[in-house]
């Protein structure tokens, strides 16, 4: 009997999937060819006839490769939306609507250097609520079968979005207002990063960790 796995490997060399996934696909296709071949032989086909008819199962290996990749990429796109963007937008929206509501209700920020741009500014109730929002984001992301960095990305999107905004705006800050000393600009920028990116990011990631613990305890009980 021909080595069908070797035959598939020789024809599917352009199947650019992750190693483990690619191996599974190849093994599965080879098993199908083997079953087809054995069935043809059992029906009385000669060796060469059975091989020929089995090989006719795939008229274009390039086309098959494209179709498999298309089926897999459809999943990737769907997963990206449900694992990253929907939970990420939920956390983003929740975090900033909550902050706006708190400010509207008269919440004042705690500042280490009141009146100066370089101080640490904390909206303490908001920071304390972020682990809950991060945990909700992690729950939604994990519910869509996400693991690893995807969960953290989705849960910490409010901080990441502001981080990107800071990176985009900071070069402008150094160009504009030439009469403001560079050291003050740099300190204000660093303080802004700590206030709006690093501290919220840590709080959101604590939420992810708490949700992981809760999930693990749920699995053990």
């Amino acid at each position: 009997m021909p080595d069908w796995l070797a035959y598939v490997n020789a024809h599917l060399d352009r199947l650019s999937l992750p190693e483990a996934e690619s191996l599974q696909v190849r093994e599965e296709l080879a098993a199908h060819l083997e079953d087809t071949y054995l069935s043809l032989r059992a029906q009385g086909a000669s060796e060469s006839e059975a091989v020929r008819l089995t090989c006719d199962q795939v008229s274009s290996w390039q086309g098959l490769c494209r179709d498999i990749l298309s089926a897999r990429s459809e999943a990737f796109m769907e997963n990206r939306v449900s694992q990253l963007w929907i939970p990420g937008l939920v956390t983003l929206f929740s975090a900033y609507v909550l902050l706006a509501l708190m400010q509207f209700a008269g919440l004042r920020a705690m500042s280490s250097h009141p009146g100066e741009p370089r101080g640490i500014v904390l909206y303490l109730p908001w920071i304390l609520s972020l682990p809950l929002i991060g945990a909700i984001g992690a729950y939604l992301s994990r519910r869509a079968q996400a693991t690893g960095w995807r969960v953290y990305f989705a849960a910490s999107l409010p901080a990441l979005a502001l981080g990107v905004l800071f990176l985009l705006i900071s070069p402008l800050a150094f160009v504009l207002d030439p009469h403001v000393p560079l050291s003050i600009k740099a300190t204000a920028l660093a303080a802004g990063l700590v206030n709006w990116v690093i501290l919220p990011g840590i709080a959101l990631c604590i939420g992810v960790a708490l949700q992981s613990l809760r999930k693990m305890r749920g699995a053990h009980s």
Binding site: V25, E27, A31, H32, Q57, L64, A71, R72, A75
Partner: protein, 110 residues
């Protein structure tokens, strides 16, 4: 002879229907469909697996490796609740299509 385009459209319903009866691996799915349709529907490997992977991604079916008594490893597909839910609307859709075709093309029942 049923034309290729129509066959392609029937593929999902055919696969879900045979898996509704019992879990099967890819080759068995194609054999069962061929037998049950008296040879009118045939799935080659190239037609079957991209479709199975797509259905698996949508959460309609799940493939799991199993080792048979003779030591062969086969990936067995099982119908999931989401796939079972798809059966009724797909069947209704096809029934509507056949009714419409009977009226338009004056096709009689077999």
């Amino acid at each position: 002879m049923i034309r290729t385009e129509l066959k392609r459209g029937t593929a999902e319903l055919a696969i879900l229907s045979v898996l509704e009866q019992q879990p099967l691996h890819g080759y068995e799915i194609s054999r069962r469909i061929e037998q049950d349709s008296a040879g009118a529907l045939r799935f080659t490997l190239a037609a079957l697996y991209p479709l199975l992977y797509r259905m698996e991604n949508r959460g309609w079916v799940r493939g799991q490796w199993e080792t048979s008594d003779n030591g062969r490893r086969r990936r067995c597909y099982k119908l999931l609740p989401r796939g079972r839910k798809m059966l009724a609307p797909l069947r209704a859709e096809w029934a509507d299509l056949f009714r419409a075709m009977r009226r338009v093309a004056k096709v009689n029942h077999a």
